[in-house]
């Protein structure tokens, strides 16, 4: 078997393998950890690396060559894909799994040193791989019910991981909150799926998108789906679980949690743009000479929620003193920016600046994951070195932890959208497109971005600068595996920042096109459009 044939085979089967490899690895981990701890760590990193390789293979083919992959489980004949469980990968899916692969790989590398002193690590690694498998499943699946199953797999494993430090009361409480929130959200999503199934006798996303009529029951399903997924994505005022969960989980878990949150975000876009894509521009009501369409209505609502999200996230972040809670509220604000762009894109669907807004929003998804992830890793590194979480008890750490400080600076500049980091390019797109819709919104967005910078300057000042505190005299730089993990993300951030045109043209644009135009996604399954 030559190399070309092998890579072709791998490419054909990669959608299934991306989910199956972490799943198999997850259940092999407890057995391997009975042999040796180091072997288990190497095995888990290899599993994550193999998954990452498959992801790159698949997304290169989808994004650069423009193919849409479908993978039908259990059967070779493509004749009746409608009744089968299948994975469908277009530009948006391929874009999302890149984020997932980066985050999972970094989290696994980071865990080597970070979680070393904990017990029960075989369960930890099992759960983190399960979470990765669920996340990839959410991002790849083309079947509504399958999506629900993966959503629940992800939320169960991530809840167990949030409460991993069970000796801390608040961590357990945060885990309980998370499981309550995600279960109720998922149950309403299941109700919506059931309504759609009862109407159209199909669970396949493409078939649903093809046959949707936007009847009364479809409206109910639409609202349930949007509300449930928005809660999982952390939109104000349904964001309160997010600082608890992000702030109390171990940092290596938090970074994968970002990925799962964004998988819900992706599903929200999929529901909005693909499944209900055909009924978005249909006129709903006629008041005088003004025609109200669904995309205008929904776009306005989402933009309003997004502005509230940004403001609340930034203001709450300014007040917090817990390091990880600050970053969690900043993450909420960043999600607000994504929603702002997507709301603007929805509002101006089909026009040029609507497309630009969508591009900005999609680009900001990956930037948000990387920037906030890096900051969480830095917070974890500081916790590892000093065992402190509160900013009030930190100070002068830059003297002891040089590399961590540099990584924090990179994350700070990126998250607040300063040039030349990646956050600037995507925020520039968002500001410009929002300005064309309403200048006041753009001004608010820019002001909040400045406030975000102020928040992190405060963190930087009170944690890293200041006089040398005697208590931290013997604090050392964190171990190599954590530095490698942080360095990896920092390199990606700088790369994205230096070549924004390359990224936007090759990665972001196919994804934004896939969102704006759902006919390719549908015709791949239903045939002809």
């Amino acid at each position: 078997m030559n190399i070309e044939h092998l890579s072709q085979t791998l490419l054909t089967h990669s959608p299934a393998l991306i989910v199956a490899v972490p799943l198999l690895g997850a259940f092999l981990t407890p057995l391997i950890s009975r042999i040796n701890d180091k072997l288990r760590n190497v095995f888990v990193i290899l599993t994550a690396g193999l998954t990452g390789f498959l992801v790159l293979l698949l997304s290169y083919d989808v994004l650069i060559n423009g193919n849409i992959h479908t993978y039908i489980f259990g059967s070779q004949d493509i004749g009746s894909p409608v009744v089968r469980i299948l994975f469908e990968v277009d530009g948006m899916n391929a874009f999302m799994i890149i984020i997932g692969a980066i985050l999972v790989f970094v989290a696994v590398v980071y865990s080597w040193a970070f979680m070393k002193e904990n017990t029960g690590l075989d369960k930890y690694y099992t759960l983190i791989l399960l979470m990765a498998a669920g996340m990839f499943g959410m991002m790849l699946t083309g079947d509504m019910f399958n999506f629900f199953v993966f959503l629940e797999i992800t939320s169960i494993s991530s809840c167990a991981l949030i409460a991993f430090w069970t000796n801390k009361g608040k961590a357990v409480e945060a885990g309980f909150k998370y499981i309550v929130i995600s279960t109720i959200g998922a149950l309403f999503i299941l109700l919506a799926i059931a309504i759609l199934y009862g109407q159209y006798n199909a669970l396949n996303m493409a078939v649903l998108a093809d046959s949707i009529q936007y009847t009364f029951l479809d409206k109910i399903a639409f609202v349930l789906l949007i509300a449930g997924l928005a809660m999982k994505a952390g939109i104000v005022p349904m964001h309160m679980w997010l600082p608890d969960a992000y702030g109390r989980a171990p940092s290596s878990v938090t970074i994968v949690l970002i990925g799962t949150t964004q998988a819900s975000l992706y599903a929200l876009f999929r529901v909005c743009f693909t499944i209900y894509g055909n009924s978005l521009t249909a006129p709903l009501k006629q008041i005088g000479s003004v025609t109200i369409t669904l995309n205008g209505l929904l776009g306005t609502f989402i933009v309003m929620l997004a502005i509230i999200t940004i403001i609340v996230g930034v203001f709450m972040a300014l007040k917090q003193t817990n390091f990880k809670r600050i970053i969690a509220f900043a993450a909420i604000a960043e999600i607000g920016y994504i929603f702002l762009a997507v709301g603007a894109g929805l509002w101006a669907l089909g026009s040029d600046h609507g497309m630009m807004a969508l591009k900005g929003g999609v680009f900001h998804i990956i930037n948000d994951a990387l920037d906030v992830g890096l900051l969480f890793l830095v917070a974890g590194a500081i916790y590892y070195a000093t065992k402190e979480t509160s900013l009030n008890r930190m100070g002068g750490l830059a003297r002891n932890m040089k590399y961590t400080t540099i990584f924090f600076l990179i994350g700070l500049l990126a998250v607040s959208g300063m040039p030349p980091m990646n956050g600037f390019a995507s925020k520039l797109l968002i500001y410009e497109s929002i300005y064309l819709i309403n200048p006041i919104l753009a001004i608010v967005a820019i002001l909040c971005s400045i406030l975000l910078l102020a928040v992190f300057v405060k963190v930087f000042y009170s944690a890293f600068l200041g006089p040398k505190i005697p208590r931290f005299n013997d604090v050392k730089e964190v171990p190599k595996s954590m530095l490698i993990a942080m360095g990896l993300i920092a390199c990606v951030i700088i790369f994205f920042g230096l070549f924004p045109d390359l990224i936007v043209n090759n990665i972001v644009e196919p994804a934004a096109n896939a969102l704006a135009n759902n006919s390719n996604y549908i015709s791949q399954i239903v045939g002809g459009s």
Partner: protein, 118 residues
């Protein structure tokens, strides 16, 4: 396919453009100018003398840990002047799971009205 030239292209945003490579060149030039200007600085500055000691309007110097401004004291004025905002925000963030679900139901209700179910 990705070519080498595509690494250098300017990022067009519709009504504006952004090229980080040009920006970095500009920043490097600016830093060079700053470095040159720094060379013209005062020659009589010497380390480890009276000049570098902490001077607090004649008050005695506190201990190191007391000197550092704590995280919750930074931006004190900002939070103080926007107390009314923070009061409402604090009222929102109760920390009860039930309230989180209540917000979820409220948003669902608003969406129901908006989409036109009710």
């Amino acid at each position: 396919m990705i070519t080498w030239e595509s690494f250098l292209e300017t990022f067009e945003t519709g009504s504006g453009f952004w090229n980080p490579l040009i920006w970095i060149t500009a920043i490097i030039v600016a830093f060079l100018i700053i470095y040159i200007l720094r060379g013209y600085g005062k020659k009589e500055y010497k380390e480890n003398t009276e000049q570098t000691k902490v001077f607090l309007s004649g008050n005695p110097e506190y201990e190191k840990e007391q000197m550092h401004i704590k995280g919750s004291n930074v931006y004190w004025g900002f939070t103080e002047s926007l107390k009314w905002v923070y009061k409402t925000l604090d009222k929102m963030h109760t920390g009860n799971v039930s309230d989180y679900i209540l917000w979820f139901v409220i948003i669902m209700g608003i969406l129901f009205i908006l989409v036109g179910v009710i």
